[in-house]
């Protein structure tokens, strides 16, 4: 397998960030863990955006990922991080295979609303199940890795794991976007009828994209559950899904690293807004995001592209 320049950059960034665990203060590594885990869910949104579909219910798979990790530990006695993450991907993929059959028949606002509806159904079911702690959720603890118990360095382990998974997922998604399926997705966004005339099946392309997006998002949910040590139905609530769409727009769909950058920026702005203006942090966050959308309509990533073009001109 030969890696191109972008892929080398992605892997190198992953390694550097993972090594940061020795240098960065703990609060920052935790912030980044959550940001990258959310970034993975946003990747799921972005993959679908490339094909012209906006999912307003990606929280469904985020929640499935989180709950699989939580329930696996609580009821199945599985505590291995890798097994749990694999399980959450499988669980999400199975659900997506069923829902995808229906959802891929719809486009635009109909697709958005239906995805939202399904995530809210899960929210409703979880909020009514008292054995799962209803809206309070339940704790996730005792995560191990291949027989090793990280103990007090558990959060550091989850951070390194998140960096690794995020880097590998980014490389994979980058490959995908440069593969024929990736290009078909873009073609579907531009003109679906024409794609059909060319002999490709938009429906099955979208179906496989949908299932893949679900699996990637579930990884994000699983990692969040391990990092925070708690899962609750809020993960499937529509505002959570809205946040993912927002981060996706913030980063733009120009580059596979954009969701991670955007998620980190979002978390950083939010935490400092909460610290400095505790009574109106939402307003600060809102203005920053509004500013980015007005001045960088193609997302944060257009900053990098613009400078590169400027360099090329010189």
């Amino acid at each position: 397998m030969r890696l191109d320049r972008t892929e080398l950059w992605l892997l190198a960034s992953g390694v550097v960030l993972a090594l940061g665990v020795f240098v960065l203060p703990n609060w920052l590594t935790f912030l980044l863990t959550i940001a990258f885990a959310k970034g993975l869910v946003v990747q799921g949104v972005v993959v679908q955006m490339r094909a012209g579909l906006v999912s307003f219910g990606q929280g469904l798979y985020y929640c499935i990922g989180g709950y699989t990790v939580g329930m696996g530990g609580q009821w199945l006695g599985v505590h291995d991080a890798f097994v749990l993450l694999a399980l959450s991907m499988v669980a999400a993929a199975v659900v997506a295979m069923v829902l995808g059959l229906l959802l891929t028949r719809y486009r635009e606002i109909f697709f958005a609303m239906l995805t939202l509806a399904f995530s809210m159904i899960l929210y409703g079911v979880l909020a009514k199940s008292q054995s799962l702690g209803s809206t309070d959720g339940f704790n996730v603890h005792g995560i191990t890795a291949l027989g090793w118990t990280p103990g007090s360095s558990g959060k550091m382990f989850v951070y390194v794991l998140t960096c690794g998974i995020a880097a590998v997922a980014a490389v994979f998604l980058h490959r995908l976007s440069k593969s024929s399926v990736g290009y078909v997705c873009e073609a579907i966004r531009e003109n679906e009828v024409r794609v059909e005339y060319l002999g490709a099946s938009p429906r099955w392309t979208l179906y496989s994209t949908y299932v893949l997006a679900a699996a990637v998002s579930a990884l994000g949910g699983g990692l969040t559950g391990m990092a925070t040590g708690h899962v609750d139905p809020e993960m499937a609530y529509w505002t959570t899904s809205g946040e993912f769409v927002f981060i996706a727009l913030l980063g733009g769909i120009g580059h596979v690293a954009a969701p991670f950058v955007a998620a980190s920026l979002f978390s950083t702005v939010r935490t400092y807004a909460i610290q400095f203006v505790p009574h109106s942090w939402q307003m600060i966050l809102g203005f920053v995001l509004l500013g980015i959308i007005i001045f960088l309509p193609k997302g944060l990533w257009s900053l990098f592209k613009r400078t590169r073009k400027a360099e090329a001109r010189v």
């Binding site: 090594l19 020795f22 240098v23 960065l24 203060p25 703990n26 609060w27 935790f30 912030l31 959550i34 909020a127 009514k128 008292q130 702690g133 209803s134 809206t135 309070d136 959720g137 339940f138 704790n139 603890h141 007090s152 959060k155 969040t224 925070t228 040590g229 708690h230 609750d232 809020e234 993960m235 959570t240 978390s267 939010r270 935490t271 909460i274 610290q275 505790p278 009574h279 942090w281 939402q282």
Partner: protein, 435 residues
Amino acid sequence: MKMTQSSIARRALTAAVATAALASATTAQAAENGKFRVGIVTFLSGAAAGPFGVPSAHAAETVIDALNKGQLPAPYNTKGINGMEIEAVIIDENGGATKQVEEFRNLVERQKVDAVIGYISSGDCLAISPVAEELKIPTIMYDCGTSRLFVENKAPKYVFRTGLDAVVDNVGAARYLADTRPKMASFAGIQQNYAWGQDSWVDFVEAMKHVKPTAKVAAEQFPKIFQGQYGAEISALSVAKPDVIHSSFWGGDMEALVLQGGARGLYDGKTLVLTCGETGIERYKGQAPNGTVIGGRGPFGAFAPKNALSDWLRTAYRAKWSDEPIYPSFKMAQAILALKTAVEKAAPAGKQPSSDQIVAAMTGITFESPSGTVKMARASGHQAMQGIAYGEYHYESGRAVLKNVKSYADTCVTPPDGTNGQEWIKAGMPGAKCD
């Protein structure tokens, strides 16, 4: 070439480890400015801000300002905490458990607080509890009511709760009804459909089975939280004709239910019981029917006993905010005073005790509060134990008054140590000692 590469790698690794050691050395718990930093986490936005969060934040500001000036009555007439000035770092609780865990870590590791007081939402309490244990930071849950807090955290060390378990609310309500409404034949419930409402109803129904076995459940309604319009539920409750309507609604939902039910005559000839009703006492302005039974989740707010501290809190709060302190305000004040007592017990005056010294001092402590004397007598010294009071709301010549107030002793409404609250009620509340 290979040699140099590996030596570079080794050098880089050494540098990294050295930096890490340095970083961890600088993050050691210490208020570098000689002040005692307290993180205060409560709702500053969202639906819970109005009825709970803001009155709590206001109380925190009032009490901390006054403590720094040494203006509280005895035994809290010494300045600050153990002679150190108190510095409050206030954070919004809105946004869900994942965000709260992140912000809790930021409070401890970035803002270097010496202790945290906060959390209204039970979900947040459950999520924060293991993190507080991991980061070894004294953390006082001041309001959340979930019985699961010390069921999930079986051997608490750093987590305390100065507020009461929600079990107490509903056992208290059931006892009050049995005592004051002996002819009651049936009751109905309307609860928000989430953990709080579901748990409250289970606790209340089970408690009624023991204190008033002849009363039957006539109807139960679980509208979703923040629904705001209760037309259908009010119709269903009217048709069922219960003698008593129990609700654990809070905030805007509670006030909406009072208004809408009143307009449709739902409460005619029936008694409405609001377990969180005290927060609305100054706001009903006669719109709640006279005789509505309200509670304040313990001896707080309007139910607080008359003593020097409660008089002081009422006067100082009124002077600062031109408003009455309600039960969340009292609970916040109680948590701050618990912390002050523990820190001063842990180290000689002017010295900053370590986290371990603070929690050791706080475990099982007895302290004075505007709500009376509080004993940390449950969950191996980590959970406060107090009685509860209920009373009838009456609106007379433009003022809200409480009548027929009945208090129940702590031993009458609190499960014994080591027992799960809900199981205790189901078993018939064995060991409860009521006068």
